[in-house]
Amino acid sequence: MSDDKPNQDSDPIEIYQRKQSHRKQEARRPVSEKMATVVRLRDFERALENIRKANRAKRATKEITIRIKTR
């Protein structure tokens, strides 16, 4: 298919606009619902804390090898 016009799912501008519109709707949710999300995010971050710490330590001691593919 050779349609010059990008479809709705692949046009980055369209995707961005939809995402922003969704974020606006999120902003208008009741504060109690938003706070419940904040609590979940906070708890998730706390759960990740040790994993992040361990990861940082591994990177610092070069236990993790990062290979960047180049052409």
């Binding site: 922003q20 974020r23 606006k24 999120e26 902003a27 949710r29 504060v31 109690s32 938003k34 706070m35 999300t37 904040v38 995010l41 906070r42 998730f44 971050e45």
Partner: protein, 161 residues
């Protein structure tokens, strides 16, 4: 605390204050602006509310915050004219049937512009993109508190509505 006279007044700021206006995002603590009482000696008294919470069993501290119901709460004495204006003009909002005093969106944005950390600027963008501020009020605050340069710098970073 205000009701029982332990705290003259307060205003929720920071990330939790922001969540009253914009989409929820991760944060680890609650920032509460308070007005410090200065003793006649010129020395600053203890942070209002701190002793009250300690007396009620909230004795765990994390850094400069006291932990209340699993949230580190940091009492931040207002330290400049902008913060004082934000504190004085905070608005009462409803949280699950409880009135809470929250810094106005426009003051939150101005404070974040003034602070200028990357995470603050990212949140400023959220306020603007989510149409959570009255632009005229914000520009007036920016002008009166001399943070036009920070505003111009922010706009030059490619922010667009």
């Amino acid at each position: 605390m205000v009701r029982v006279g332990q705290l003259p007044n307060y205003a929720i700021g920071g990330a939790i204050g922001a969540v009253f206006y914009i989409e929820p995002f991760a944060t680890q603590d609650v920032d509460v602006f308070v007005m410090m009482q200065t003793e006649s000696s010129g020395l600053v008294a203890t942070i209002p509310g701190w002793d009250y919470l300690k007396d009620r069993g909230y004795t765990e501290t994390r850094g400069e915050a006291i932990v209340v119901e699993d949230w580190p709460v940091q009492f931040i004495p207002v330290s400049n004219a902008l913060e004082e204006e934000a504190y004085l003009n905070a608005t009462i909002l409803d949280f699950e049937g409880e009135p809470v005093r929250v810094v106005l969106a426009e003051h939150l944005v101005a404070i974040m512009l003034n602070t200028g950390r990357l995470k603050d600027l990212s949140r400023v963008e959220m306020f603007l993109l989510q149409a959570a501020v009255d632009r005229e009020i914000l520009l007036d605050i920016i002008r009166r508190h001399g943070i036009e340069k920070q505003w111009a710098d922010f706009q030059s970073r490619g922010y667009h509505e």
